[in-house]
């Protein structure tokens, strides 16, 4: 999307520099480490009000440790633990320094800093409250259904959840280390398979980063079709996520109807773009043209009408509303402080949406107004999704009609060097990627998915709720494990 304006800041002055950026109204997007040749550096990425990306870099100068900044910016707490695992850099004073990403059995050097010494790693221990009358309920990683792998440790008193601790990253495949050294065409095949539910968003962010490094202009017709593809991804995901809520409150007919609508969306995608989950649809400088545009448009219009009717029936159901209202609440200030993104942030009254804040593809022409609600509960998250689902149909149809096959920029897979970042509003919120290429090969790729940003919210949302409502609370966020774990 855009190049980054970097500023080098000594370790000791990070706190002041970040405070200054936040005071100016800049938004935090990602924190990562990289070794671009001059030793490991910590990097913090923000966007200013002018829409530019601004990055702070702090060289470690061989020290392999730095003080934590979690007090300045609580949203950093998982990013710092990730840096600890992947680079062997100790973040002094971190309130929860347990390992995050790496498997228990891993005994090698930090995967992204192979020269760093092999550090002794503490085993992960769950946080729970041991007092008279409390009961610990461990669940997972294998679940009683078709659910991704993850472990939850509940401390309960009676029916009530006092505390939830979660251990994710059972699905950690080491994607960031594995794609280092690969060429662009090969790398994007892995990037799009990082997560099957957010694949088009991951493709778009990766493509935008490559295009920014190349300084390539992508033709408007290509950008329009990409926008349509990104909205199709939102449509089938929101249909799935609302349908999951129907399952969660045991409305089986509405749940089955939801699955049928999702199946129709997947078939339209396969017919038009050759893949049910849109793998291969977006590449640097390019987009796959819809195979039979008239047929796709007709199918989408029918699906729009049927989805609207289904959503009306779902939301008119008193049982549905009753179970969701007040369930899994996240107050606005908590969502802000933890750096919530996507429908979860908007349902807590935060009007942020990458499509509006940092428009990419054709969104600068669409003037997206973030859909917000104030409840911060499962019902508010469902309501935001419903409105976004219906709006996505209109955007997709308009963008399909205005797209066209145009000559694509050449030479994007040549020996490019440089770095860029890209942000895309996936169905679950901001999908941030950083890419550094050297001679056309990936030197460093980092993904901070919307699910990575939002998982910590679920711990907050679950406290004080009955344990029986946890599946419903979880479904009201419907986060991916795959693109969080990588």
């Amino acid at each position: 999307m855009r190049a980054i304006t970097w500023r080098t800041v000594p370790l000791a002055q990070r706190s002041a520099a970040i405070g200054e950026l936040l005071a100016q109204g800049s938004a935090f997007h990602m924190c990562f480490a990289e070794d671009a040749g001059a030793g490991i550096e910590l990097a913090y990425l923000f966007s200013g009000r002018d829409g530019g990306l601004c990055g702070l870099r702090s060289p470690l100068a061989g020290a392999l440790e730095a003080s934590t900044l979690v007090d300045d910016l609580p949203a950093l707490h998982w990013d710092e633990r990730e840096i600890q695992d992947m680079f062997g850099v100790r973040l002094r004073g971190h309130p929860d320094p347990r390992p995050l990403l790496l498997p228990d059995s891993y005994a090698g050097a930090p995967p992204l800093a192979p020269q760093a010494p092999v550090a002794a790693r503490e085993p992960w221990r769950g946080h729970s409250l041991h007092q008279h009358g409390t009961v610990q309920v461990p669940v997972g990683p294998v679940h009683a259904g078709i659910i991704e792998s993850g472990h939850f440790l509940f401390t309960t008193m009676g029916e009530t959840i006092l505390q939830l601790d979660a251990r994710l990253f059972w699905k950690h495949r080491g994607v960031e280390a594995n794609i280092a050294g690969r060429g662009i065409p090969e790398a994007i095949r892995v990037v799009e398979r990082t997560c099957g539910s957010c694949s088009a968003s991951h493709q778009e962010a990766f493509a935008e980063a490559v295009e920014a490094i190349a300084g390539a202009e992508v033709p408007a017709g290509t950008r329009a079709w990409r926008t349509a593809i990104l909205e199709l991804e939102r449509i089938y995901n929101h249909l799935n996520d609302l349908g999951q809520l129907a399952t969660g409150v045991a409305l089986h007919v509405l749940a089955q109807q939801g699955l049928r609508l999702k199946e129709r969306a997947l078939r339209l995608q396969e017919e038009a773009f050759g893949h049910r989950y849109l793998f291969g649809a977006i590449r640097p400088g390019q987009v796959r043209a819809p195979k039979d545009l008239a047929r796709l448009l007709a199918g989408l219009r029918r699906l729009h009408a049927d989805s609207a009717g289904w959503a009306d029936r779902l939301f008119a159901n008193a049982g549905f509303r009753d179970r969701l209202a007040g369930t899994g609440q996240v107050p606005r200030e908590v969502a802000l402080s933890l750096g919530a993104v996507g429908p979860a942030a908007r349902a807590s009254g935060i009007a942020s949406d990458v499509r509006a804040d940092l428009p990419y593809a054709m969104y600068h022409q669409l003037a997206i107004v973030p859909e917000t609600a104030s409840g911060g509960d499962a019902l508010a998250r469902a309501e935001v999704r419903r409105r976004e689902l219906l709006a996505a149909f209109d955007i997709a149809v308009a963008m399909l009609e205005s797209g066209s096959r145009e000559s694509s920029p050449q030479g994007l897979d040549a020996a490019l060097s440089g770095a860029a970042a890209a942000l895309v509003e996936s169905p679950r919120g901001a999908d941030g990627q950083f890419l550094r290429l050297r001679q056309g090969k990936v030197q460093r790729w980092h993904l901070r998915s919307a699910s990575f940003a939002n998982w910590p919210l679920i711990m907050v949302a679950s406290a004080d709720n009955p344990i029986g409502d946890f599946p419903l609370i979880n479904k009201s966020f419907e986060l991916c494990y795959a693109c969080c774990d990588r």
Partner: protein, 147 residues
Amino acid sequence: MAHKAFLIGRSLALRLVDCGSCNACESELAMLFGPDFDAQRFGIEMVPSPRHADGLIVTGPGTSQMTDALARTAEAVGAPRVVVALGDCAISGHVHRDGYAAKCGVAASLEADLQIPGCPPAPGEILGALRRLMRKGATGQGLAASD
């Protein structure tokens, strides 16, 4: 010696173990239980406990962190059991092959009785493959004796 054929004459109860998939295989598997495919009419069921299962359906390249959970789930299902490797990752590791945290699919831990290729395999393909497995079970052909 117990024979796997006896397991799956008329129904097939499976427990899912996700070993690092991208979730597309799970998404397609879930579609089997919607109105378009309705796998339950053929006696196919995903069960909430390994004790109720005839076997495992495994996705993903086999992450290191899931190795123990997969082995313990297999043990809880008991023997004889069937093992289904769902999708290219489970069969070979696919794009994640040979990383520091993922292996080359299920084969590294368990011998699969059925491989369903695809990235991801479509619900119709999954359903067709499971039904062929059930027919083999009914006739006792092509299934190895259990361990």
